[in-house]
C-alpha cells in the first residue's frame, strides 16, 4: 500500500536531513507504529506519506514515496487527501470550521460530492464512530478527547485507504487516550485501513500494531519489523520492558519472562515510609476561579513541603491548568497562597515570579529570545539580577545540557530541548517553588526520564514542585504525593502510588500488571534512575 524507497528529505535552510535513506514497504491493512526520539523525524515521515513533504514545506527531497498507485512527487497533499486521511496532534489548531458536522463535511465539500452524498457520509460517519452526542456542538467546547475523535472522524469521512495519525493521544488523559486507541483499533480492523501512528505511549499501542518503524537521531530507519523484534532493541522501551531491564531480565518479554517479572514485582518490599514533618513551603487554601463559560475551580487546598513534589492529576478539563495558573497569579482567583509563611495571593504575577517558576504546557510562546543563552539572560535582566553565583547563566546551560545548542534559535529545537530551555529560563532566578504544566507533552521516554531525574535533584536541593500531568508514569516517578481534581473539585489527596492505584483509570503499567500499588513505576525499582542528560 505504501512504498518508500531511499527517501531523504531536508527542510529548507536545515543543515542536515530530517529523514535519511528511509526504505520500507507497508502492506495494505497493516497498522504501523512510528517511534523515535523527539526530533527524529516521525512527523516528517508521516508528512511524506500525506504529501505535505515536500510540497507544502519545500526543501530537498530525494527518493520516492508511492501511496496506493500515486507517487507523492507528482501529487500534492490536497490531491492525496482522497486516499490519505490525516489527524494531527493539537487538532483544535487545525479545525477549519466551528461545528462537528461542518468539520466532517468540509473535506467532502472539497472533494465536490453532492449535498446528498455529503449528508449520507456525514450521517454514516457519525453513526459508525458514535459521535451522535457531539453533533452540532461547537468544536471549541469539546474536550481534548472529543476533539481528537472529531479530527479522526473528519479524516475518515472521505473514506481514505490510509490513515496517518500524528501523536493522536499526546494531549489526552489516560482514559481518553485508551478510548481513542481502542476506537482506532476497532476501526482499522473493521475497515482494513492501513494506519501509521506516531506515538510516545508505546505500552498501550504495541498489542495492536503489526509493524514498528523506529527512527534514529539522524532521521535514519534504525529498526523495522514486528513489535516483538524491534521494541526490545529500543534504548527506552515501554514500562514493562524497562522494568525487566532494571531487574536484569531479558527485554524480549516471553511468557516466562513476564511471569518472572510479575513474581519479582509481587515480592518487592513495601513502599518505604515517607519522612513527614517537613514544614509546608507552599500552602494553598480555598483556591477558586470561575470562567464565564461555566467551568469553576472550587475551594482547592493543599500543601507542598520543602523538597517535595506534588502531582496534580485528573482528566482533561478537570482544572489542572486552571489551578496552576491561579497559583502563578495568571488568573484572578479566590483563596490564599503563602510561601514559607508569607502571603503571596495578593501579589501580581511579577511579584509571585520572585519565588515561583512556572512553565506552561507548550513552551513555544514562552521562548522569545534569539538564542538559548539569551533566554536565560533575559530572565536575569527581567529580575534585575546580575549574572554570577547561583544566577550563573553558563552553569545553568551546563546543568540543563544546553551548551551544544546555546547559540541556536530556541524555537528550532526539539521538544525536549525547548522544554529544557524553558526550564533553564525560569530556574536561573533560583525560585523556591516550581510549577510545571504537562511537562512531558511531546517528549520521548528518554527526555521524560531526564526530566524526572532533574526534578529529583531539585527536590534534594529543597525546592518544592507542583506537576500538573495526565502522564501517570511520570507522576509516579517524580511525586511523593498527588491530588486528583474532578470537575474543578479536589476529589482525592494522598501518596502518589496509592492514589494512582485507588483510581483504576489512573493506574500505571506496573500497577496494572502486578495488581499492587508499589512499585508503581520503573524508578521505584532502583534508587538510581540513571539516564543521560547530554544527548537529547
Amino acid at each position: 500500500m505504501i512504498e518508500i524507497d531511499r527517501l531523504t528529505y531536508t527542510y529548507p535552510r536545515a543543515d542536515r536531513p530530517a529523514l535519511s535513506g528511509i526504505t520500507l514497504r507497508v502492506r495494505e491493512g497493516d497498522t504501523v507504529l512510528v517511534t523515535g526520539r523527539s526530533g527524529s523525524g516521525k512527523s516528517t515521515l508521516l508528512g511524506a506519506i500525506n504529501g505535505l513533504v515536500p510540497h507544502f514545506y519545500g526543501g530537498r527531497f530525494s527518493g520516492r514515496v508511492v501511496v496506493g498507485d500515486r507517487d507523492t512527487r507528482a501529487n500534492r497533499a490536497h490531491d492525496l487527501a482522497g486516499i490519505v486521511g490525516t489527524a494531527f496532534q493539537e487538532p483544535a489548531t487545525r479545525f477549519i470550521t466551528r461545528q462537528v458536522t461542518d468539520e466532517l463535511a468540509f473535506g467532502l465539500e472539497a472533494a465536490g460530492l453532492s449535498g446528498a452524498e455529503i449528508g449520507r457520509r456525514v450521517r454514516a460517519t457519525i453513526e459508525r464512530l458514535q459521535l451522535g452526542p457531539l453533533i452540532d456542538r461547537p468544536l471549541d467546547q469539546l474536550s481534548g478527547g472529543e476533539q481528537q475523535r472529531v479530527a479522526v472522524a473528519a479524516a475518515l469521512a472521505r473514506e481514505p485507504r490510509v490513515l496517518v495519525l500524528d501523536e493522536p493521544t499526546s494531549q489526552l488523559d489516560t482514559q481518553s487516550a485508551q478510548g481513542v486507541l481502542d476506537w482506532l483499533r476497532d476501526l482499522c480492523h473493521q475497515d482494513g485501513l492501513t494506519t501509521l501512528i506516531s506515538e510516545h505511549r508505546l505500552g498501550r499501542l504495541l498489542p495492536e500494531v503489526d509493524r514498528v518503524a523506529a527512527l534514529g537521531r539522524r532521521g535514519e530507519l534504525e529498526a523495522w519489523g514486528a513489535p516483538q523484534e524491534v521494541i526490545p532493541s529500543l534504548a527506552y522501551g515501554p514500562p514493562l520492558i524497562e522494568a525487566a531491564r532494571r531487574l536484569g531480565l531479558p527485554s524480549a518479554l516471553s511468557e516466562d519472562t513476564l511471569a518472572h517479572l510479575r513474581n519479582r514485582l509481587l515480592a518487592w518490599p513495601p513502599r518505604p515510609r515517607q519522612p513527614s514533618g517537613a514544614e509546608p513551603r507552599l500552602a494553598c487554601r480555598g483556591i477558586g476561579f470561575a470562567f464565564p463559560a461555566g467551568f469553576e475551580l472550587r475551594d482547592i487546598g493543599f500543601d507542598v513541603r520543602w523538597g517535595e513534589a506534588v502531582a496534580v492529576l485528573g482528566g482533561n478539563g478537570s482544572g489542572k491548568t486552571t489551578l496552576l495558573r491561579c497559583l502563578m497569579g495568571l488568573l484572578t482567583h479566590r483563596g490564599q497562597i503563602s510561601i514559607d509563611g508569607t502571603a503571596f495571593h495578593d501579589r501580581s504575577v511579577v511579584g509571585r515570579a520572585q519565588a515561583m517558576a512556572y512553565v506552561p504546557q507548550w513552551p513555544s510562546a514562552f521562548l522569545f529570545a534569539d538564542t538559548v543563552r539569551d533566554e536565560v539572560l533575559t530572565t536575569l535582566q527581567y529580575h534585575g539580577l546580575e549574572p554570577g553565583g547561583m544566577h550563573d547563566p553558563e552553569a545553568m546551560l551546563q546543568a540543563f545540557s544546553l551548551m551544544p545548542v546555546a547559540d541556536r534559535y530556541p524555537r528550532d529545537l526539539s521538544a525536549g530541548e525547548r522544554q529544557r530551555t524553558a526550564l533553564a529560563a525560569v530556574m536561573i532566578a533560583a525560585p523556591k517553588v516550581v510549577l510545571l504544566d504537562e511537562p512531558t507533552l511531546g517528549m520521548d521516554s528518554k527526555s521524560q526520564a531526564q526530566l524526572a531525574r532533574r526534578i529529583r535533584t531539585w527536590k534534594q536541593a529543597g525546592l518544592s514542585v507542583v506537576v500538573a500531568t495526565h502522564d501517570v508514569e511520570f507522576a509516579a516517578a517524580v511525586a511523593e504525593r498527588a491530588i486528583v481534581l474532578q470537575d474543578g473539585r479536589l476529589a482525592a489527596e494522598g501518596a502518589t502510588a496509592e492514589i494512582l492505584f485507588e483510581h483504576p483509570g489512573l493506574r500505571t503499567a506496573l500497577q496494572r500488571f502486578a495488581g499492587r500499588s508499589w512499585p508503581a513505576c520503573v524508578q521505584d525499582l532502583t534508587t538510581d534512575a540513571g539516564g543521560d542528560d547530554a544527548d537529547d
Partner: protein, 320 residues
C-alpha cells in the same frame, strides 16, 4: 460581503467627516445587533488612537494652511503649525478608522471558513490566503497575550510601547506558525485539489490575452473604444466562466437566499453606485478640503440619508 464591499468602498471614496462618521456608526450598529458586540471602551480608544496619530503627524509635518495656530522662531521645526493641517490629518484618521470598523464588523460576521466557501473554486489559493489573513489578526492577539504572559512569568512588568520591540518578532513567528498550521489542515483535507483543470487554465490564458488585446486596441485606436470594450468584456467573461465552473466544490448545507438578502445587497450596492456617480459628477458633495482655509464640511441630507442606509443589516436580518 456586499455590505462590507459597499461600506468599505464608500469609506475609500468619501472624505467628508459627516458621512465617514455615519459609516462608522453603521458598522458599530451592525456589529452590535448582528454579532452581539457592544461598543466598548477599547473600541473607542482604538478609534480615537487611529484619529489622533494622523492628526498629530500632519499637524507636525505639514506646513500648508492659512490659520496658523503656533509658530516658533526656529528654523525647520518652528512651524507654522496650522489648523488646516490638523483637520486634514483628522479626516484621514477618521477615514482609516471607519474603514477599520467596517473590516472588523465584516470579520466578526463572516468566519474565515465562510469566506473560504464563498470564494470561487478557481481561486482556491487566494481563498486559503484570505482565510489565513483573516485568522492572522485574532491569532496575533492570542500570541501577543501569550508572549506578554510569558514575560510576566519571567519577572517582567509590561511597560507599554517600550516593550513592543521584544514582542514583535515572537508575535510574527507565532502568528505565522499558526497560519501554516491552518494551511497544513486545509491541504490535507483536500482543499484546492485540481482547482483549475488544464482546459480551464487554457481558457484563462485566452481570457488574459483578450484583456491584453483590448488594452492594445484602446491605445492604438481610442476613437473605436467599442472594440476594446468588446475584447475586455469577452476576456472578463471567459475568466468568470473559468473561476466559477472550475473545481468541483459543493456545499453540505447550501444557504437559502432570502428576500432580506436581496434587499441588503440591492440597497448597499445601490448606495455604492450612487457614491461612484457622485464622485464622478459632483465630487465636492462627498469631499472635504480644509486647505487653504478651514471651513465646515458640507452636509447634504439626501446624501446622509443614502449613507445611513448602510445600517440596514442592523435592522434587517440577512446572511453573513
Amino acid at each position: 460581503m456586499a455590505w462590507a464591499g459597499s461600506a468599505g468602498g464608500i469609506a475609500l471614496l468619501v472624505r467628508n467627516p459627516w458621512y465617514l462618521l455615519l459609516i462608522a456608526a453603521a458598522a458599530v450598529m451592525i456589529r452590535w445587533r448582528a454579532a452581539g458586540q457592544r461598543p466598548s471602551v477599547g473600541m473607542l480608544r482604538l478609534f480615537a488612537g487611529m484619529m489622533v496619530f494622523p492628526t498629530l503627524l500632519n499637524f507636525l509635518f505639514s506646513r500648508a494652511g492659512e490659520t496658523v495656530l503656533l509658530e516658533f522662531p526656529v528654523r525647520f521645526i518652528g512651524g507654522p503649525y496650522t489648523l488646516e493641517a490638523m483637520l486634514f490629518g483628522a479626516t484621514a484618521g477618521l477615514q482609516l478608522a471607519s474603514l477599520l470598523l467596517v473590516m472588523l464588523t465584516f470579520s466578526q460576521l463572516l468566519s474565515p471558513t465562510d469566506l473560504l466557501r464563498r470564494i470561487p473554486a478557481g481561486l482556491a489559493p487566494a481563498g486559503i490566503t484570505a482565510s489565513i489573513a483573516m485568522n492572522f489578526a485574532p491569532q496575533a492577539r492570542r500570541s501577543f497575550d501569550a508572549v506578554r504572559e510569558a514575560q510576566q512569568v519571567r519577572g517582567h512588568a509590561p511597560r507599554g510601547f517600550r516593550d513592543l520591540r521584544g514582542i514583535v518578532t515572537p508575535l510574527v513567528i507565532l502568528s505565522l506558525e499558526s497560519a501554516l498550521t491552518v494551511g497544513e489542515g486545509l491541504a490535507t483535507r483536500g482543499w484546492g485539489a485540481a482547482a483549475v483543470s488544464d482546459r480551464g487554465r487554457r481558457m484563462a490564458w485566452v481570457g488574459v490575452g483578450l484583456f491584453a488585446l483590448g488594452a492594445i486596441a484602446w491605445s492604438l485606436a481610442p476613437s473605436r473604444g467599442w472594440i476594446a470594450a468588446a475584447l475586455v468584456g469577452l476576456g472578463a467573461g471567459l475568466l468568470l466562466v473559468v473561476l466559477t465552473r472550475s473545481g468541483s466544490r459543493s456545499r453540505y448545507r447550501p444557504e437559502v437566499w432570502k428576500r432580506s438578502d436581496s434587499l441588503i445587497v440591492g440597497v448597499t450596492l445601490g448606495v455604492l453606485g450612487l457614491a461612484v456617480v457622485l464622485v464622478a459628477l459632483a465630487p465636492t458633495l462627498l469631499a472635504y478640503e480644509p486647505y487653504p482655509q478651514a471651513v465646515w464640511p458640507t452636509f447634504s441630507w439626501p446624501v446622509a440619508l443614502a449613507v445611513s442606509l448602510l445600517a440596514l443589516p442592523a435592522v434587517v436580518p440577512g446572511h453573513d
